[in-house]
């Protein structure tokens, strides 16, 4: 990636924004755990800059440090110089992947799964059907016992919900119940993992919007957001999905999503596609909490009596700058005592498929997160991203402190 005649790539120029002050270091979860300069934002930016300048002999030598990055963007929030770390990382990963696709079974599986299954809703649903059968028959435990499955995959894999919960939302327009004043119409982005794994969250999101007076269009032709592909250094494939989504939501004024990772990716379509269309689409995307906090709740949520910890998903607080909206909303739940855990904005270690690729580090980061939440002795935990919900649940469970981990919308629903 030597600077070419038509100027160096934009992401290289972004590396120059870093003045090496180090103020991002204490905010980086991997640096906190490892305390290795090359595993800090400052170090990674330095390595990526050197790579772009042609000063790296063997890119494979620096790849482990980039692979260990969670892409959580905590460094962006902390950086006084305004370094756009995510763009640098994603572009560099794409360059590396193009130059030399990663080898090994894990890499192949990742690529195949991401493109051929996750990005295709029907196949994904089919996979989950199999996983459910697998689980009901107790095959998973058997496989783990026989060491066919790595232990971390088995412990992390959440129980697959029964078919009733995996059922996709009916596509098309949903209208608020008779008698509810209609305040507007929004389109709903349902997300590829949210659908089969957390169908209940999608249903809650839909019901919540309806109860608060919004017509909801569950657009049929939508696809996976492509975030995982971007993170894995496959922006070309992600672009195909992005273009399809831009088309699918052409007629919508507001596109609501409820998964921070997807939401962040959707809002970055402008950068990904590099077109005005992409930028226009990005500008109409809203996280569900961001949207409702702005519009205001008209339906009083069902009471919840107890301590509730809200944990910031990275791609919501760092990626989209949404911090106060979920808190404002949750505080309106009658009876709730909203408590702040230490370092709430630190990554939980889930980060897309990170916990599958970097199990040890993800576990160390997850354990830190769980310990800080445990210190608050909550009755429940709210967080707005499927990966975070799974990771936090798994680490709370592992430490023997299982409490319900829910999406904020689940606390905001009015009584039935």
């Amino acid at each position: 990636m030597a600077p070419s005649s038509d100027g160096p790539p934009a992401s290289y120029l972004r590396t120059l924004d870093c003045v090496h002050c180090g103020l991002c270091l204490p905010h980086c979860p991997t640096h906190q755990v490892l305390r290795i300069e090359a595993d800090s934002p400052r170090g990674r930016i330095y390595l990526m800059r050197a790579l772009a300048e042609g000063r790296v002999d063997d890119a494979e030598a620096i790849r482990p440090f980039l692979d260990r990055c969670l892409d959580c963007r905590a460094c962006e929030t902390a950086c006084p110089s305004g370094v756009r770390y995510g763009e640098i990382l994603e572009d560099t990963r794409a360059t590396l992947e193009r130059a030399r696709p990663k080898r090994g079974v894990a890499a192949w599986l990742t690529r195949t799964l991401l493109w051929h299954v996750v990005a295709r809703q029907r196949r994904l649903r089919f996979l989950f059907w199999w996983l459910r059968v697998f689980e009901v028959l107790g095959l998973q435990r058997l496989a783990t016992a026989l060491r066919l499955l790595p232990a971390h995959v088995a412990t992390l894999a959440p129980p697959v919900p029964p078919a009733r919960e995996r059922r996709p939302l009916r596509t098309g327009l949903h209208r608020p119940a008779e008698g509810t004043e209609v305040r507007g119409r929004v389109a709903l982005f349902t997300g590829c993992v949210m659908e089969p794994l957390f169908g209940r969250v999608n249903r809650a999101t839909l019901d919540l919007l309806l109860a608060n007076g919004f017509e909801v269009d569950v657009v049929a032709a939508q696809r996976c957001c492509g975030a995982l592909l971007v993170h894995a250094g496959q922006p070309d494939r992600a672009r195909q999905l992005a273009a399809a989504n831009v088309r699918a939501f052409r007629d919508a004024d507001v596109v609501i999503n409820n998964a921070a990772g997807c939401g962040c990716a959707l809002k970055e379509y402008g950068h990904l596609l590099g077109t005005d269309e992409g930028r226009r689409f990005a500008a109409k995307c809203r996280d569900i909490c961001e949207f409702l906090a702005h519009e205001g709740l008209t339906a009083t949520p069902r009471p919840f009596h107890g301590r509730l910890v809200y944990d910031d998903p990275c791609h919501l607080c760092h990626g989209q700058g949404v911090r106060s909206a979920p808190r404002e909303l949750l505080r309106q739940v009658p009876g709730v005592e909203l408590v702040e855990a230490e370092h709430s904005a630190d990554c939980c270690g889930s980060a897309g498929i990170y916990n599958l690729l970097q199990p040890e580090l993800a576990a160390a980061i997850g354990e830190r997160k769980a310990a800080e939440i445990r210190a608050c002795a909550p009755a429940a935990i709210a967080t707005g991203n499927p990966g975070c919900m799974m990771q936090i649940d798994s680490h709370m469970h592992r430490s023997g402190h299982s409490v319900p981990v829910r999406h904020p919308v689940e606390f905001l629903l009015p009584p039935p």
């Binding site: 003045v19 103020l23 204490p26 305390r35 300069e37 790296v56 006084p80 110089s81």
Partner: protein, 486 residues
């Protein structure tokens, strides 16, 4: 590669890095002009491990460089191509806290602010507060004798360190100072010599520091001025009246604008030529009286506006801009040269005028943020390090500014050290005899000149065979320019 093998055997493969490309990350500190890739990096976790490492390096006659968080601004932890970096970042345990004696013993990699966080439940804190305090380590602070905004009232690191366990370059152990404090008679004050030795005497592996009680009340005042001179005169008045605020900081307009454009936005008025940040602490009545007096000085010197923060959140906001200032300067250009000169407080105004003039003459972009109470200036030059001409002009302007500080009766460094950056400036302050005495002290700790060679003392006074710093700078710069600029 024998030494790499032996180190790996001692620490395990995960804590010894020697792949050339990976080592790029340790190529520089906050002074990005100096770049050099070390031979290897090791990450010990205990005094015993540091001893094992230094014994191996001693036996193999390999030079080494201690490193903390790498926030140094003078190239202190940057290592030559033949040297091994001993990175203390993983030595991050607070070993012992006594709330009765108000002392703490820590490993050197403990981050300054983490120490304060660890004792805050007892209403205590560690007073020296470099603006990098959320990142820099106690080991680095000790080596640099670091200061910070609150050092005007509370003193520099040297006033807060009571004892240190040091691994000498040959791997032997020395216990310097006494946790009971400087008043316990203890022979020569070797700890005093070690403090500020910039990593050239050995590696501190356990450090005992004094903790301070949190003041009952703290108030932060901010005033903005239409000219830098009036801000400086306000400082002069405050000090002349015998007041000793906990901090007295000035930011100029370029800095204000960079900060206000960043995530460290503090609400400083962007039309002001300068803002003055004053912090008062102590008993409630005293703070109130002093605040009134200082506000009067603001008014007398024609302050455009002033505000007072009393809640922790408000105070934090006002300080945030100051603490993020250097980083925010990254918005101006790709690289930042943070200078660190001292002038007598009475000549602040004159110094700043002349500095502006020097900047103009060399055609460089200057901004100023400084500890006004101590006359410790930080003129910052923003430049593009890939441009050899711009870099040369930056270095030349920097040189002239430091020369000016000495001429005005000040010094070439207040707190950031000499490192590899100011070797050429040292002779401005010390003659050959002075330097020879310093070199002798250094040889007493490090007879073979293997501990952070080529730093602090200019070439002819350091051990001849290892002091190739200036040449190395030139080579690396040349290399960087050739690659980056195509």
């Amino acid at each position: 590669m024998a030494i790499e093998r032996d180190l790996t055997r001692a620490l395990g493969p995960e804590r010894v890095l020697h792949t050339r490309d990976a080592l790029l990350a340790w190529e520089c500190d906050g002074f990005t002009v100096l770049k050099s890739r070390p031979r290897a990096v090791v990450l010990p976790e205990s005094t015993t491990e540091v001893q094992a490492v230094l014994r191996l390096l001693h036996a193999a006659a390999v030079p080494f460089v201690p490193r903390g968080a790498g926030t140094c601004l003078s190239g202190g932890p940057t290592a030559g191509a033949d040297a091994v970096v001993v990175d203390c970042s993983r030595m991050r345990r607070v070993l012992h806290v006594s709330t009765v004696d108000r002392i703490a013993t820590v490993q050197p990699g403990v981050v300054n602010l983490d120490l304060t966080a660890a004792v805050s439940d007892h209403d205590l804190h560690y007073a020296p507060d470099p603006s990098s305090q959320s990142v820099c380590t106690i080991g680095g602070n000790l080596a640099e004798n670091s200061g910070g905004p609150h050092c005007f009232k509370y003193g520099m690191t040297t006033d807060h360190v009571l004892a240190a366990t040091v691994v000498c370059p040959d791997g032997s152990l020395a216990h310097l100072g006494d946790p009971a404090g400087p008043r316990s008679p203890h022979g020569l004050d070797v700890l005093g010599v070690f403090c500020g030795s910039e990593g050239t005497f050995g590696i501190a592996t356990e450090i005992t520091v004094r903790l301070c009680r949190n003041p009952p009340e703290v108030r932060t005042l901010l005033a903005s001025f239409a000219s830098m001179s009036s801000a400086c005169r306000a400082v002069g008045d405050i000090v002349a009246a015998g007041l000793v605020p906990a901090a007295l900081e000035i930011l100029d307009q370029a800095t204000i604008r960079a900060v206000e454009a960043s995530v460290y936005r503090a609400g400083y008025p962007e039309n002001a030529a300068a803002v003055l940040l004053v912090e008062l602490d102590g008993p409630h009545e005293v703070v109130g009286e002093e605040a009134a007096e200082i506000t009067a000085f603001f008014r007398k010197n024609g302050a455009l506006q002033s505000e007072e923060a009393t809640t922790p959140d408000e105070r934090k906001r006002l300080w945030k801009g100051r603490k993020g200032a250097f980083g925010a300067m990254g918005r101006i250009d790709t690289d930042l040269y943070v200078l660190d000169g001292v002038v007598p407080r009475t000549r602040l105004e004159e110094a700043l005028t002349k500095i502006t003039e020097i900047g103009r003459r060399h055609g460089v972009t200057l901004s100023n943020v400084f500890h006004a109470g101590d006359g410790n200036l930080h003129p910052n030059i923003s430049f593009d390090g890939r441009d050899p001409d711009a870099t040369a002009r930056t270095i030349a302007a920097g040189h002239e500014i430091l020369q000016l500080c000495v001429e005005l009766g000040g010094s070439i460094t207040g707190e950031h050290g000499v490192g590899g950056e100011k070797l050429d400036h040292v002779p401005l302050m010390f003659d050959d005899d002075d330097l020879e005495v310093m070199a002798r002290v250094r040889r007493a700790f490090d007879p073979d000149g293997r501990c952070n060679p080529g730093k602090v003392l200019p070439q002819r006074h350091a051990c001849a065979e290892v002091a190739k710093w200036p040449q190395m700078t030139a080579e690396v710069l040349g290399e960087g320019a050739a690659e980056g600029g195509q």
